[in-house]
Symmetry: C2
Subunit: 201 residues, 2 copies
């Protein structure tokens, strides 16, 4: 249907900046039209992991935090960075426990996402967590978190209108909504995270 080969050619690559979360490089390239150009690429050091936690009564949980990059307060699903040496599921379980104080006995993988693919390689995935047990949250030093329990249907509505604007939260909530309404009828593909589509123990 289309020529899916890489039409870009990389001539050279120069490291620009690195911290524990991102690496920035500038590549000299030949663009798809054959002309020379540059590409500034932001490499993200962790996976982006998001969790939609669903209580027995149909409530879900949002965490609120001030997003330094945007200078605004943002209500989101529990999220965090998954190190590349751990599994995304282990990271999801840790983030749900740290940010919301919740552990879950039933986990469903809801597929992957590329968050900002014109600029970065940031890759994430979202999970549905059910059969919940409640404890105490333990946010880390970069987080000062609010916790909000609300009906799942209301959270979905907020993801539709953009009141919830964080992309991973919007995708997690809308995929979870489809998954539950369809009678758990679809299975995500496993491009970056092989095995996650299988039922978890």
């Amino acid at each position: 249907m289309a020529d899916e080969r890489n039409p870009w050619r990389r001539l050279s690559s120069r490291p620009i900046y690195e911290n524990p979360w991102i690496r920035v490089r500038e590549d000299q390239v030949i663009r798809p039209d054959g002309n020379p150009g540059i590409y500034g690429v932001v490499e993200i050091q962790n996976w982006a992991i998001g969790v939609v936690a669903l209580a027995e009564n149909g409530d879900t949980f949002l965490v609120g935090q001030y997003r330094y990059t945007l200078d605004l307060y943002s209500w989101e699903i529990p999220e965090g960075g998954g190190a590349k040496h751990e599994t995304p599921l282990a990271a999801a379980q840790r983030e749900l426990r740290e940010e919301a104080g919740i552990t879950a006995a039933r986990w469903t993988y809801l597929g992957e996402v590329h968050l900002s693919n014109s600029v970065s390689d940031e890759t994430g995935c979202v999970f549905l967590a059910e059969d919940l047990t409640y404890g105490e949250a333990e946010p880390d030093g970069t987080e000062e978190l609010g916790l909000w329990r609300l009906p799942f249907a209301e959270a979905v509505q907020r993801a539709l209108t953009g009141d919830i604007s964080d992309s991973l939260a919007v995708i997690g909530l809308l995929r979870a909504d489809h998954f539950l309404r369809s009678g758990r009828a679809w299975t995500p593909i496993e491009r970056s995270f092989p095995g996650l589509g299988r039922p978890q123990p």
Copy 2:
């Protein structure tokens, strides 16, 4: 419900890198827990604009392109950068025409999104375009695009499973699906793009 004030304090800011698409800076900060730290912020120079185009027979249109950042071929809704001196609607109309050769008489705003808020300030919005007229695509020099006409319901399914993985495309398709199924019942908020929620001429 939560203290929504900014718990971060910026002590200083150092420019790291700039090209026509991104600016990178490193800030010295006091973190929410009171300890000193750094924050590397990627500022995005354009809005991210995405368009779900819906034909009378229920088909939609995806454009395929090789994403240099991820080293993979990606099928997405027509998307592009909106300059901050033009309106997001004008950018959406241009991108749909350039990438898919389509003009639309009816436009609906489907709300905003923050694509990668732990790292960047990238802000986007999505539109539904209907009442379509077809012409010739005119991709720019950084793009070598495939065009795929397929049933809207199939595109939604691909956004659910992660076969379509680009976040702006996933959000555009899932919001459009909800909007159409709900009888056009909800109105997006207008935090970053005042006036876009009103019916367009």
